[in-house]
Symmetry: C2
Subunit: 505 residues, 2 copies
């Protein structure tokens, strides 16, 4: 990246200053600036980083009471991302989602929340003992992928539940599809409520003219971004941005203290500072190599192979979704011939050293960004070409009876047909208060689930604890199992059986 | 450290294997194995580590559903630390304490818990909406430092609250003082309850004949250890150990999913694997250089300077506390002449490049371990000598009227005289449900606190939200403020004012 003379990373630089004085450590962590690992095989990998892995010292500030370099780094981040206040997160977007929900919902309070959210939102509902009213997503026509709920459904829900404390949306989705939030903000603010946005996959939004606008720019009140996902922070490094007076900032700060480690990682915090410094220093040019690479990749993939990246979404007749967009730095690739599932493509790419972000039945999702180099994309295109050439039509053809076409099986519409759910009270002890039993999945229709089953990635729960199994849910789980999907929370990883509540007579 | 041919670190080695194939990354994190940072000033520090900062891939397992290298690494750790089951933590001991409490307490359930616990235990009570019965600590006579409650108080509390769900103790304390837990385990198990232990400062216990025994060896059911504190993991790397059938293991695993990031850090997880591998590979010899260093340091400090490390504790007439011990790898040092406070010693040591773990009015706490080298301890001793020699009796003498002797101000006994508290219901919204106001600290006697004030370190809350201010509490806060202590959670960092609930008429 081109570095300008505006490079400033006060938190990272404080760690460098601390190290440069060759300090003697008589504090935690016990590796003592890495000295403990010096004679181990791990030394070359950990040596430099552990010299920055310090603790709250008089020159390194305190995340939970920031007054020095951490506060300064957060102020710089707020300016860069357009927030009035930014909190660094060391527990990932998970910590931000938990804190936003805990700060706004007391037990029994209603949160309007889209159904296709990350499991951390569900965990937030559980910890807060909040009551969710789920809004079913809209769907992008061509891809069948789930977006945020329609504006009209949200308007209905707000009329129906004026006592709701906030609205939580997840935008963009895991596939890079999103919706402009301006009309949503206007509607939600007209009820005096805050809009909370899980923008985990959009930390880079608004930072280049070709990238979609950010939730903050659209006026959202509280926004969580995974700085590690599409920018350059270490994993678990994320940010929570706030603006305006509809969000309860003192409560959010207080809840962040509850859910995050009292010994936050300095390498992770400094990596947030560095990620922001790279943006400020390089400007939009930071994203240009990747944007150029991906643009060329999309064209050549479509022209030279049987694969294709999902194109700009088309949404018709759904109010509020006209401003639908796609992340140019993310490609949801499918096999146009319907021969290979997303899982199969992912597995074949790995054999060529190309590691994708995730796969589902239809798509393999590839992420590009400031770390992407031409050679990576060349290798990727080459891999797709070789996969095309070496396909054995007989062996690689899908089981027609079982899988259907990719688009059919990706579509979640069949599973949840109610657009606005009844209020569902969440709690953390529902399972333990109920006697449960293990039964065959195929006999589970009508039974109440005793486990939350979450295909991961994308990490969106398919069945919640306390939710009734429908035939559609069962069919979908059976397909996922047949395709080798990984499901978190399932008592039986093969999904042959599931845990349900014992029937009460 | 001497490495034997038993070095095995399956999780770390999986990351090395992944890296060695020179993979092309199209997944999160966006730094793409560090490529994004290559042209930044941060490259030398972050380069090697970011190559290991991957995500859940087909060869790197999944912390929240471990079946491969993470499961294997956890099994090896369980064997090393003497547990039946070990869970890696990436959110520090904080995550383990939250999960243990959430797993065992439904709203309103009673937990018997010692008063002098880390704030993460309080946060666990709040999130679980549990009811705490606090047991006041016993005190080690010579140092005035707080230990766990006496066995007789615990017996009384168990008789009084047979409906309690568990007992939570924090042992050893921040100063390295601890108590053998065997009689506590016997008593608690006789009520059929699990003993949960926050052993954050004792991850190294039981790993050398000169070190105290571990909580697991004493029979505790659930134990949280900060592997990063006294062993060699990265900060936020910790472990939760379980044994026996009194602890609800499925609930603990489920709660860990709730409170931890869905994108756990691989460098941190691998550092847990490496910390365990170092122990298995080197054996007890891993601790011998530090043990020898500290033993010599203690003698020379006492003989050659005015400073002294607290000695082996002496406890008389308190049943169960006979087996009191001190961590040989931790030194709580005070000025025998009473001239310098712990804070002042800490600050003076920093000027010589020696960074202590924490200080209070009386003590500065120094931690030694596998990362300690002879030269560090030589520098430290030299610093103490120079501080002794350069003291200006007039300028450095304490304000007699304000501070008293170190021992007087350290002693918490005056603050909490009730040995077994009434049940105190915790919740996360107590503050917001009450109107609060800011008043002068010196007028706060009898008022109910609207904030939790936690001197950090050691991170033990002095006043809980909902607890009444006593004159003793006020005096102690005023002394802490005068001595420059940092307090988390205080609305006024100078402690001139505090937030209290508005009086109801």
């Amino acid at each position: 990246m081109p570095l300008s003379d505006t490079w400033r990373a006060p938190l990272y630089e404080a760690l460098l200053r601390h190290r440069s004085a060759r300090p003697h450590s008589f504090h935690v962590p016990g590796h003592a600036l890495g000295q403990a690992l010096k004679e181990t095989p791990a030394a070359p990998d950990y040596a430099a980083m552990l010299q920055l892995d310090v603790t709250e010292l008089s020159d390194t500030d305190d995340l939970h009471q920031p007054e020095g370099v951490i506060l300064e780094a957060q102020h710089l981040a707020a300016a860069t991302f357009g927030a009035e206040e930014t909190c660094f997160l060391v527990g990932g977007s998970t910590a931000g989602n938990l804190a936003l929900i805990l700060a706004h919902c007391r037990p029994g309070d209603i949160l309007l929340v889209q159904r296709n959210v990350h499991k951390s939102v569900i965990h937030g509902l559980q910890l807060a003992q909040a009551t969710a009213v789920f809004l079913s997503p809209s769907y992008e026509e061509a891809s069948g992928l789930a977006l945020i709920p329609s504006l009209s459904d949200l308007a209905t829900a707000l009329q129906q539940y004026p006592q709701a404390k906030a609205v939580l949306l997840s935008n963009p989705n895991y596939y890079g599809f999103g919706v402009g939030l301006e009309p949503y903000v206007e509607l939600i603010h007209s009820y005096g409520l805050p809009l909370l946005v899980d923008e985990a996959h959009g930390a880079h939004y608004g930072l280049h003219p070709e990238l979609p606008g950010s939730a903050l720019a659209a006026g959202a009140d509280g926004v969580v971004q995974s700085t590690h996902k599409t920018l350059t922070a270490m994993t678990m490094g994320a940010m929570l941005h706030m603006q305006g007076n509809r969000i309860d900032r003192p409560a959010v700060r207080q809840m962040l203290q509850l859910v995050q480690s009292s010994s936050p990682s300095y390498p992770i915090m400094a990596s947030l500072d560095i990620a922001r410094a790279m943006i400020d220093s390089a400007g939009p040019i930071l994203f240009e190599p990747a944007l150029a690479c991906v643009s060329s990749f999309r064209k050549r993939l479509a022209n030279e192979t049987q694969f294709e990246a999902a194109n700009l979404p088309i949404v018709q007749g759904q109010e509020g979704l006209e401003a639908c967009y796609i992340d140019p730095l993310r490609a949801a690739v499918q096999d146009r011939t319907g021969t290979l599932s997303g899982y199969a493509i992912q597995s074949k790419l790995e054999a060529y050293g190309c590691w994708a972000e995730m796969a589902n039945e239809a798509y393999v999702v590839l992420i590009f960004g400031p770390g992407t180099r031409d050679k990576d994309v060349e290798t990727l295109l080459g891999a797709f070409k070789k996969i095309s050439e070496t396909l054995e039509p007989g062996r690689d053809r899908p089981n027609k009876s079982g899988l259907g076409t990719p688009l059919e099986v990706t579509n979640d519409r069949e599973v949840h047909s109610d657009r606005i759910s009844d209020p569902i009270p969440f709690g953390i002890h529902l399972v333990r208060e109920q006697a449960t039993e293990i039964i065959s999945l195929q006999e589970a229709e009508g039974r109440i689930s005793g486990e939350m089953i979450t295909p991961y990635p994308p990490g969106i729960p398919l069945v919640y604890v306390g939710e009734r199994f429908t035939q559609a849910t069962i069919t979908r789980l059976q397909r996922l199992a047949a395709l080798g999907a990984k499901c978190q929370g399932a008592s039986d990883s093969t999904l042959t059986t599931v845990r349900v509540w014992v029937k009460t007579v």
